[in-house]
């Protein structure tokens, strides 16, 4: 193989699928995102690199499905021929960007005759995106020629030749977290993280004590990797970035978020930390930090690490306007800098500064529309952009606008209150969901 085409100096790389295959009948958007996630994971499992999906336009690795001449010097040529390319880390404006020919029939877990295996090609292209060039080694994934599907993404094991070349570039990952144990002994693969249905699919019947999403109030709400998570008791619901409910049934927290104590019966607040995009869970005096859906070693730790003098946290979110982390407890709030890891001076302040918010919060989160959302009971308040005042139409009902419940379901009496206050005047809003219309969202 020829000389390496430089490498990334930073270790945290963001990615985003900017355009999807036009003919998405073959591959749904969530499947495409899941395949990109796993193709990147092949490399981050063995090299000290961390990839995280973002929603914005400033991703390090922008992924596009495009065709013919798309003005980057590598025009595609219709079905067959050239099928994809990626830009090396050293490219000035396009470093890491990866393009797939939208004239190909991209497939997943299909026979070779049905088309081009997207996962196999993506692993190859992301090899370029981190700095590897083509090689003549017959078993390498970096051979320039398409060699057919490489099997199940959850069980894929990179050829040793390719591991050596990426170790030469970046060194070995200290805590190797193989998708597969080296040496081929395939253990049950890690469950797909944040990109596939939580593994409660195997429990066809709803566990009896599972809460009802239409009448609950929520312990915590968070935007994680661009998706919305609503936590209640030992369960959570998940919405894709298009606000599609992944499943009408809640998933069980312990079966997806690995490493929380089994006796944990609920969480107080959750947020995705800026910078390394790890996920922080709070309960009482403790907090846990997750990389993807695995808790990191050394947790739980005391929330005094943040300089919080309180005995618990009601709400935590990152304000898009300044990328600072805000903690709320009762009628006070703190501002914390997650990049510098210290509390900003002059806090706590009275939460009345957030005009129009209720005195107590269940949680808060940022959303991809640029607004911040505050949740209490069955209602939510929207604060646009960099304002500190709720927008006119707030509060609205969570169940109808986020969890696809009909008016009747959403307004039925609260099964339990997180605080003693009762809901006296539930505001009536035009019904967003058609009566009796259940929303089913299909993901990968």
């Amino acid at each position: 193989s020829s000389s390496q085409q430089n490498k990334w100096n930073k270790r945290h790389l963001s990615w985003r699928v900017r355009t999807f295959p036009k003919d998405s009948a073959l591959l749904g958007r969530d499947t495409v995102r899941a395949l990109m996630y796993y193709a990147l994971k092949v490399w981050s499992d063995i090299a000290p690199l961390n990839f995280h999906e973002v929603a914005g336009n400033d991703a390090d690795i922008q992924i596009d499905f495009t065709k013919a001449d798309h003005n980057d010097g590598y025009p595609f040529d219709g079905p067959g021929g050239t099928v994809a390319h990626a830009f090396f880390p050293g490219e000035r404006f396009t470093a890491g960007d990866t393009h797939f020919d939208d004239d190909e029939a991209w497939t997943f877990r299909s026979p070779e005759s049905h088309g081009m295996d997207l996962f196999a090609v993506a692993v190859h292209e992301f090899g370029h995106a981190i700095g590897l060039v083509h090689t003549s080694a017959m078993e390498s994934i970096m051979r320039p020629y398409y060699q057919g599907p490489v099997g199940d993404p959850l069980k894929y094991d990179l050829p040793y030749e390719d591991k050596v070349r990426v170790w030469q570039l970046y060194g070995v990952r200290d805590s190797v977290s193989y998708t597969n144990q080296p040496g081929g002994a395939s253990q049950t693969p890690d469950p797909p993280v944040l990109l596939d249905l939580p593994d409660n699919r195997s429990t066809p019947l709803l566990v009896q004590d599972a809460p009802d999403r239409c009448t609950s109030r929520f312990d915590a709400v968070a935007q994680i990797r661009g998706e919305a998570f609503f936590f209640k008791g030992k369960y959570f619901w998940r919405l894709t970035r298009e606000k599609h409910l992944v499943s009408l049934r809640p998933a069980q927290i312990h079966r997806f978020w690995k490493g929380l104590p089994p006796n944990l019966d609920s969480v107080d607040a959750v947020y995705e930390r800026p910078g390394d995009h790890k996920i922080v869970f709070f309960k009482g005096l403790k907090y846990w930090v997750f990389k993807d859906n695995n808790v990191e070693e050394g947790y739980p730790r005391p929330i005094t690490d943040f300089g919080l003098p309180v005995e618990a946290v009601d709400a935590a979110f990152v304000w898009q306007h300044n990328d600072k982390t805000y903690f709320f407890k009762d009628n006070q709030f703190w501002r914390y800098d997650d990049h510098l890891r210290h509390m900003d001076m002059g806090y706590p302040k009275d939460s009345i500064l957030w005009k129009g918010l209720p005195p107590h919060l269940d949680d808060a989160m940022r959303w991809s529309d640029g607004s911040s959302y505050f949740f209490n009971g069955k209602e939510y308040w929207q604060v646009p952009g960099s304002d500190m005042e709720v927008e006119a139409g707030s509060p609205r009902l969570i169940a109808k606008d986020w969890l696809f419940c009909t008016e009747m379901q959403a307004d039925s009496p609260d099964t339990e209150a997180k605080s003693t206050e009762t809901r006296v005047n539930v505001h009536r809003h035009p019904d967003h969901a058609e009566n009796g219309f259940e929303v089913c969202s299909c993901t990968s």
Partner: protein, 87 residues
Amino acid sequence: APSLTTEQLDMGVDWLSKFGYLPPPDPVTGQLQTKEALTRAIKAMQKFGGLKVTGLLDQATLGLMKTPRCSLPDVSEMDVASRRRRR
């Protein structure tokens, strides 16, 4: 090997240029590739692709040229230059 059609030869030369085995024809003089350069390029491509190294655009070589692949060249300009320097 059966004699090549002009189209096959053109396709082969385009392919070898596209993927870095042949320098692009000189845009000023339109200088075409010499036969030696072409033979050298074919041998390099056959070696990289794991084919029998004949220096000819035989069926196996033309077949591999038709295989779906990554757009990026197999030989970067740097390699071509460093090989020239070595020569």
